[in-house]
């Protein structure tokens, strides 16, 4: 572009690109979420026997938020990782390992009071393991986390001895999955806290800026004195930490944990991040996008279940919406480039 181009761009309001394009540019995937929500409301209304829909009720909305909470916590960690052009396939397995370890710790003959630290520290340590391999051994993140995904899944089964660790007496963290605070479930508060913390780190701190920089151009980041390996270690560690937190959330909610916990969660988390407009190439994306992405997935899961669609069709529908939404997002970015 010439100097004229820039000058005229600076002084002129954006002209080209449809109104819808500009709107999308501002709001990201929020309109998709709203439309989806309204469509499900209409469908449940249409298919209901008595002409009322319980989809939009306060109870169900709370339900959606409760269901979204765990995926959102994982997706926030995933956002950090994907912003550095990496990927973390092991979040579901890390969730399972920390859930099982935490539940074991909560058993009466162990140290019930140490359950929460166990969940969190287990996740953090496993995440650091991923991070160390990615940053210090320079192994491709896809390969590293594919390995830990598989190995940790096995470890979770081994720790649980192949069964489900059940414990109905978990006073130290029962509140996480089942308690309310100011009329909202603690699960939702925790997810909101994770979102705020992530937003704060990414937008307000030097570390956040460095995460974007490393994702945008690792070579240039190194030449500006950024400790690239530290940044990478951090993003995988926080992803592990959030996985441990998610492990606490899910085992508290279900009073138990087994090796099968969280299978496939990594895909929902990645889908939420991608739906939120974060680039898999790194360097571009926001935590608010991830929130919208996770809500889209939550609304779909909930709406399709209420409609009574078989779980097989739910998979098909979910996959189709993810791909369509990303196509839409590509179009949106093209509009943005024109403006």
């Amino acid at each position: 572009m010439s100097t004229q181009t820039i000058a005229s761009q600076a002084s002129l309001p954006p002209r080209r690109g449809s109104l819808a394009g500009q709107l999308f540019n501002r709001l990201g995937m929020l309109p998709v979420l709203i439309v989806l929500y309204l469509v499900f409301y209409g469908l449940t209304l249409y298919f209901s026997a008595d002409g009322t829909s319980n989809f939009m009720s306060a109870d169900n909305t709370m339900n959606i938020m409760r269901q979204v909470a765990i995926n959102l916590v994982l997706a926030c960690g995933m956002t950090f990782v994907i912003l550095t052009a990496g990927i973390d396939l092991s979040v579901g397995s890390m969730l399972a390992v920390s859930a099982v370890l935490g539940m074991l710790m909560s058993l009466p003959d162990h140290h019930p009071a140490l359950a929460i630290p166990t969940f969190l520290i287990a996740g953090l340590v496993l995440g650091m393991l991923n991070g160390a391999m990615v940053s210090f051994l320079s192994i491709n993140p896809f390969v590293v986390t594919l390995g830990t995904m598989t190995a940790l899944r096995g470890a979770a089964y081994l720790f649980a001895d192949g069964t489900t660790v059940l414990n109905q007496q978990i006073p130290s963290f029962e509140w996480i999955g089942n308690g309310d605070f100011l009329g909202l479930p603690w699960l939702v508060w925790i997810a909101a806290g994770v979102v705020l913390l992530s937003w704060f780190i990414l937008k307000k701190t030097v570390l956040g800026l460095h995460i974007y920089a490393v994702g945008g151009n690792p070579q240039a980041a190194r030449l500006t004195g950024i400790k690239v390996s530290f940044v990478l270690l951090f993003v995988y560690s926080i992803s592990g930490f959030f996985s441990g937190l998610a492990g606490a959330m899910s085992s508290s909610r279900l009073y138990g944990a087994n090796g099968n916990w969280g299978v496939g969660y990594e895909l929902d988390a990645i889908a939420a991040v991608v739906l939120g407009g974060t680039s898999l190439m790194g360097g571009v994306g926001t935590i608010w996008g991830t929130v919208i992405g996770a809500l889209i997935i939550g609304v779909m899961n909930n709406g399709l279940t209420i409609l009574g669609l078989s779980s097989f069709w739910q998979y098909v529908a979910k996959g189709a919406v993810i791909v369509l939404a990303v196509i839409l997002d590509k179009w949106r970015q093209k509009q943005a480039a024109l403006n």
Binding site: M1, S2, T3, Q4, T5, I6, A7, S8, Q9, A10, L12, P14, R15, R16, K204, T205, V206, L207, G208, L209, Y212, A213, G216, N217, Q219, A220, A221, R222, L223, T224, G225, I226, K227, S279, G283, V284, L338, N339
Partner: protein, 510 residues
């Protein structure tokens, strides 16, 4: 036979959004001529060539090929009409062989529609022989130098029986020797009857090659000159719309102070023990052919690569620049030669790009003071005259010159004591070049020790007080004062005998 135009473009206009890229542009090319296209960055050269090769569609205007109107709806139409474009950024796939690259997308089919490898290899070798290339069809493209990869691109164009070959800044990454070889190839192609459209910023090249020159400015046709009428002064004036009297006149008033940077026997993977020093307020050039080890030496000083031996002193104190962060804290800046690959964060804002090095100084407990950064960025934009929509404008959308200024601004933020600039004006238009020279001069006036690595000799001579020359990984000599001439530098750079050095430097003499 040479007088009829085989290609005529007229009334070409093209808009991108609110931006007028071309208006009523025209161009006439004859068979068997080298036709240079000159203009500042953003003048519309690349857009015009993309229209000609079918990448863009013009909003209006017509293209005549052999006197008949032709519609070029896509790159394949262009190729079918015999028009081939070699981009500035080479598009050679380094995982394939030369033959596979040459035939990419138009692989010959043999029996049963299978790949016809033997013909592919044979035809490729024929073309390579014509080009005088030092490699064969079976060579892996990953093993080739940039210059050789460029020959692969030329071969790709010739294999399609191209009649018009467009070369966009082909010498940007070439050494002098490679440039000379390229010129021989281009002349040979012309003698074969191929029309070559040659886009370049470098006056010397146009002078050495072009049969005719078309000059454009702000997307419009300004004028045309034949070889006999070529006058560098007038071309520059036509390109920028004003005379550029003080282009290199940036040396006055500098007073070198004490020695700021001292390099003693510094060595690394591709650098033999090297020693030199730079005083505060001095601009020292680091000259040499591409691959002589200049960038490698700079990276050693900056701590970007591992040192094998030797030491660096800053202001008389021995320092250990073990990584870039340490170097930056010591006040050493390094502007890398590959601005997009190693310097900028293209998808991030001007603010982030400008302030990344000093963000630590503008935060409390790790929390960034965005207000302060915005002030810094606005100051930098004003001081360096950067054309950007604002501090939050995305750097990827800026012109080369403005991108370079953003990168320069990042290094100025650290208030460097020593600043190493690696090819600071590569791919930058004439106007921005002159501003970058002004900035370098001001830095020196303010007591910064500046090292400039450049492959453009007139530039080195124009702005440097002293020139250190490298050859094959070691420092082969140093020239200062009146001895800073193209001949002396080339002799040291090539170790060639006098006449040969003169011949090469004559290429640069515009």
């Amino acid at each position: 036979m040479m007088n009829t135009a085989i290609l005529e473009m007229s009334g070409i206009s093209k808009r991108f959004g609110a931006t007028r890229a071309l208006s009523d542009m025209r161009l006439a090319i004859r068979a068997g001529e080298i036709h240079a296209l000159m203009g500042e960055n953003g003048a519309g050269k690349s857009t015009l060539m993309k229209i000609l090769s079918g990448v863009y569609q013009p909003d209006s205007g017509q293209i005549l090929l052999d006197g008949k109107p032709i519609a070029i709806k896509g790159p394949s139409d262009g190729r079918r009409a015999g028009i081939n474009l070699i981009y500035q950024e080479l598009s050679v796939s380094t995982n394939l062989t030369v033959a596979e690259n040459v035939f990419m997308g138009s692989e010959p089919r043999g029996r049963f529609g299978l790949l016809d490898r033997s013909n592919m290899r044979m035809w490729t070798n024929d073309v390579l022989a014509l080009l005088g290339a030092p490699f064969t069809a079976d060579t892996h493209a990953g093993k080739l130098s940039i210059a050789e990869q460029q020959q692969v691109e030329i071969a790709r164009a010739l294999i399609h029986k191209g009649r018009i070959l467009i070369m966009d800044e082909p010498t940007a990454a070439l050494s002098d020797r490679e440039t000379e070889h390229l010129f021989r190839v281009v002349r040979k192609l012309r003698d074969e009857g191929i029309a070559v459209i040659y886009i370049s910023h470098r006056m010397a090249e146009v002078h050495a090659l072009a049969d005719r020159v078309t000059i454009l400015r702000d997307g419009s046709y300004v004028g045309e000159m034949t070889r006999d009428e070529l006058d560098p002064g007038r071309i520059v004036q036509m390109m920028v719309g004003r005379p550029l009297g003080d282009f290199y006149q940036h040396k006055a008033g500098r007073v070198p102070g004490r020695v700021m940077l001292e390099v003693e026997n510094l060595s690394g993977a591709r650098v033999k023990p090297a020693s030199f020093s730079v005083r505060a307020g001095e601009v020292v050039g680091l000259a040499g052919l591409v691959g002589a080890g200049r960038t490698e030496l700079a990276r050693l000083i900056f701590g970007a690569d591992r040192k094998h031996g030797g030491r660096v002193k800053i202001d008389g104190v021995a320092v250990d620049t073990r990584d870039p962060l340490t170097a930056i804290r010591l006040g050493i800046g390094y502007l890398p030669e590959d601005r997009k690959g190693q310097g900028l964060f293209l998808q991030l804002s001007a603010l982030t790009n400008t302030t990344l090095n000093v963000v630590r100084q503008h935060c409390r407990a790790g929390i960034i003071n965005h207000q302060a950064l915005e002030t810094l960025t606005n100051d930098a934009i004003a001081r360096l005259n950067i054309k950007v929509p604002g501090p939050h404008g995305i750097v990827g959308g800026l012109s080369g010159g403005n991108q370079q200024k953003v990168l320069l601004a990042r290094w100025l933020e650290i208030k460097p004591r020593v600043l190493i600039l690696d090819e600071p004006t590569r791919g930058v238009d004439v106007g921005a070049k002159s501003e970058i020279y002004r900035i370098i001069h001001e830095l020196a006036l303010n007591g910064v020790a500046v090292v400039v690595i450049s492959s453009e000799l007139p530039e080195v001579i124009g702005i440097c007080d002293r020139v250190v020359v490298m050859r094959e990984g070691h420092i082969s000599g140093e020239v200062s004062g009146d001895a800073v001439t193209q001949e002396n530098i080339m002799t040291l750079a090539t170790h060639a005998s006098e006449p040969a050095a003169n011949a090469i430097s004559a290429l640069h003499a515009a």
